[in-house]
């Protein structure tokens, strides 16, 4: 059984919304990446995306783009992501997922990437520019399956029913829905059309639904609470890190995450 399923069961049992948070590996530094993930787990994250920095992150807005650029300038390598994940696996229980662009996976070698990810204790991969349509030449989804890694499908509000069905086939864990059409980045408001989109998704996908892109406040989380199983927060956390004094990154991150999911007890 994949640890993503175990965590999903726990969330359902506790009748609450799950939270997936995000770090860029090597931002602000490799050392801080490790401590940030530990902090995120303490603050209540259920899943954590470790984004491998890429020179040309197509689906990312300015916040994550800049974080990638800075990490790469410091010399962060793809192999560092595996090292960080393996190190974390000894320290945290929260399921870890790699988020990466396909070129990094392809150059590393698809098979080798998947076996090394498994060895490092990673539970799933989110590769937004590796569509199911190219599987015949890449054998990426097959390699994930072989290594018990969940290849998380990312779908968008403009996805047609046909595309949703294509993606739903063989999908495991949860489905990653974009709350709006655009690149990643914190927004003031959640697009009200998201509710209709999520309804469409739930008719097609029989697995839990996660929503990301633009989520940055408790009111966003509250709005989505009844619609979805997991909320995903990425750029907003990096924004909080950037606002914070370097020495207080852990504290600011913890406070920010708690402010998103705090429930009156």
């Amino acid at each position: 059984m994949n640890s993503i399923d175990i965590r999903l069961r726990k969330i359902q049992k506790e009748k609450r919304i799950g939270l997936m948070t995000h770090v860029v590996v090597g931002y602000p530094s490799l050392f801080e990446t490790v401590s940030l993930v530990e902090t995120m787990e303490r603050a209540g994250a259920d899943f954590i995306e470790l984004q491998i920095p890429f020179s040309d992150p197509l689906a990312d807005g300015p916040t994550i783009m800049k974080a990638c650029e800075k990490a790469l300038r410091k010399g962060v390598r793809v192999r560092d992501a595996f090292r960080v994940a393996a190190q974390l696996k000894k320290k945290v229980e929260v399921p870890l997922l790699f988020m990466a662009y396909y070129n990094n996976v392809f150059k590393y070698g698809v098979k080798r990437f998947c076996t090394d990810a498994k060895k490092a204790g990673v539970s799933g991969l989110i590769i937004p520019d590796m569509p199911i349509d190219e599987e015949h030449g890449e054998h990426f989804f097959a390699a994930c399956k072989k290594n018990n890694l969940y290849a998380i499908r990312v779908i968008s509000p403009v996805s047609t029913i046909g595309r949703l069905k294509k993606n739903a086939k063989g999908a495991k864990g949860f489905v990653y829905c974009m709350a709006r059409q655009g690149t990643t980045g914190a927004q003031k408001k959640i697009d009200p059309n998201v509710v209709a989109f999520l309804k469409k998704v739930k008719e097609v996908f029989k697995i839990p639904v996660a929503v990301g892109f633009g989520i940055s406040k408790k009111e966003h989380v509250d709005l989505l609470k009844r619609q979805v199983d997991i909320v995903i927060v990425g750029s907003a956390i990096i924004d909080a890190i950037n606002r914070s004094n370097r020495k207080e990154i852990a504290k600011s991150t913890q406070q920010f995450i708690e402010s998103l999911i705090k429930v009156p007890r």
Binding site: D129, G137, I155, T183
Partner: protein, 404 residues
């Protein structure tokens, strides 16, 4: 199985889900209009009455005699409206965008030629227009920024990455992801996700079709060599495509050798590049072992793309075409030679093809025929050329303009 834009293992459509519906729709509409006579007629109408097709194939008599080898012909695409071959696929794509009900065109541009051509068709066919251009290129090709703005387009300088063509493509894709309902992305080369490489190649293949007729008329036979510069590869695929089945015609693509062989000093994908996936397609890219895209350099803003059209790599693998590279110095020399011997000032991009021909022609017998694709004219390179030729009087003139 249906071909989804694959050329052997290259090409394809490696994009996030949010772009899939738009690309599928574009493909569907393109497949339909491709066979539609009235659409083809309309494209042809604007190519003739607006863009100025057909462009001439000019016998370069002086240059041929000077080099004393093969007979040299120039396909003068610089005589197109807006100064280069780019207007051809822009007209085609604008007509498709109208059919898709889009209101806005966006484009990336390196040298500015594709940006100017997109801004031009936007004005002509009533679209609003935004063009993304790397900050470095805005500086290098400032006259084209001026022209795009006069044509009513908004030019957005891209201040991330290497600040050149690749980054402009990234910025345009991000815009398209956000505004896909209202916007058509006029991708300007034979790169990107399917159907762009095929669609732009088809539109540009009018160049090769014209050349075929023109050279038969002039020489009564096929050429022995066709030489074209290759950034993304739109002018090269355009002139090569109708000749692919003519096995005796040597097809040569010329890459930007820049100022050295080290990574970062050139844009020759076949010198240090490897297979990768970027900006929606699989091809050759200048990248490190991790797959991070590397810096490039060329004196010409239109050739410094880190990747190359997938079909060109496929043709190279199949040994149907060869690649060469020339350096910045040879390119400047080629501009000078062609201008003075033939009265044609080529764009710095096209001068790469000229520079290679200068090395090749004298090694061939007089019975051989070379065709060089002069993909654009050199007006846009005024400032780069003025500096390269150390034209003091021109800079004094610029100073005097500032004091008015």
């Amino acid at each position: 199985m249906k071909n989804h834009g694959h050329f052997g293992k290259y090409g394809g459509r490696y994009v996030p889900e949010m772009l899939m519906p738009a690309l599928e729709e574009l493909e569907k509409v393109y497949e339909k209009v491709k066979k539609n006579k009235s659409f083809q007629k309309e494209v042809h109408y604007y190519l003739q009455t607006f863009a100025g097709r057909p462009t001439p194939l000019t016998y370069a008599k002086n240059l041929t005699e000077k080099l004393g080898g093969a007979k040299i012909y120039l396909k003068n695409e610089g005589l197109n409206h807006t100064g280069a071959h780019k207007i051809t696929h822009c007209i085609g794509q604008a007509l498709i965008a109208r059919m898709l009900g889009k209101k806005r065109l966006i484009a990336e541009t390196g040298a500015g030629q594709h940006g100017v051509a997109t801004a031009t068709v936007a004005a002509k066919f009533g679209f609003s227009c935004t063009v993304y251009m790397g900050e470095t290129d805005v500086y290098r090709q400032r006259p084209n920024v001026f022209l795009m703005e006069r044509l009513g387009a908004k030019v957005v300088p891209v201040a991330f990455g290497n600040r050149t063509l690749k980054d402009a493509v990234n910025a345009a894709i991000k815009d398209w992801i956000t505004n896909v309902d209202s916007t058509h992305y006029v991708l300007g080369s034979v790169v990107g996700p399917h159907p762009y490489p095929i669609m732009n190649r088809d539109f540009q293949s009018v160049v090769g079709k014209e050349v075929k007729k023109q050279i038969i008329k002039a020489e009564g036979k096929m050429p022995d060599y066709i030489i074209a510069c290759v950034g993304g590869g739109s002018n090269a695929m355009g002139i090569f495509y109708p000749f692919i089945k003519e096995k005796l015609v040597n097809l040569i693509g010329v890459e930007a050798g820049g100022k050295g062989k080290r990574i970062g000093q050139h844009a020759s994908r076949f010198n240090g590049g490897s297979v990768g996936v970027l900006e929606g397609f699989k091809s050759y890219f200048l990248q490190d072992n991790d797959g991070q895209i590397q810096k490039t350099h060329s004196i010409s803003a239109g050739l410094d793309y880190a990747g190359i059209g997938p079909e060109l790599v496929y043709l190279r693998d199949k040994k149907r075409m060869q690649f060469a590279a020339v350096n910045d110095k040879e390119v400047i020399e080629a501009v000078s030679v062609l201008s003075k011997t033939e009265g044609i000032i080529p764009a710095l991009e096209s001068a790469h093809a000229v520079a290679y021909a200068l090395k090749l022609a004298h090694t061939l017998s007089k019975s051989k025929v070379i065709i060089i694709n002069i993909s654009g004219r050199g007006d846009k390179d005024l400032f780069i050329l003025a500096r390269a030729f150390k034209d003091k009087n021109f800079f004094n003139f610029l100073k005097s303009q500032l004091s008015i």
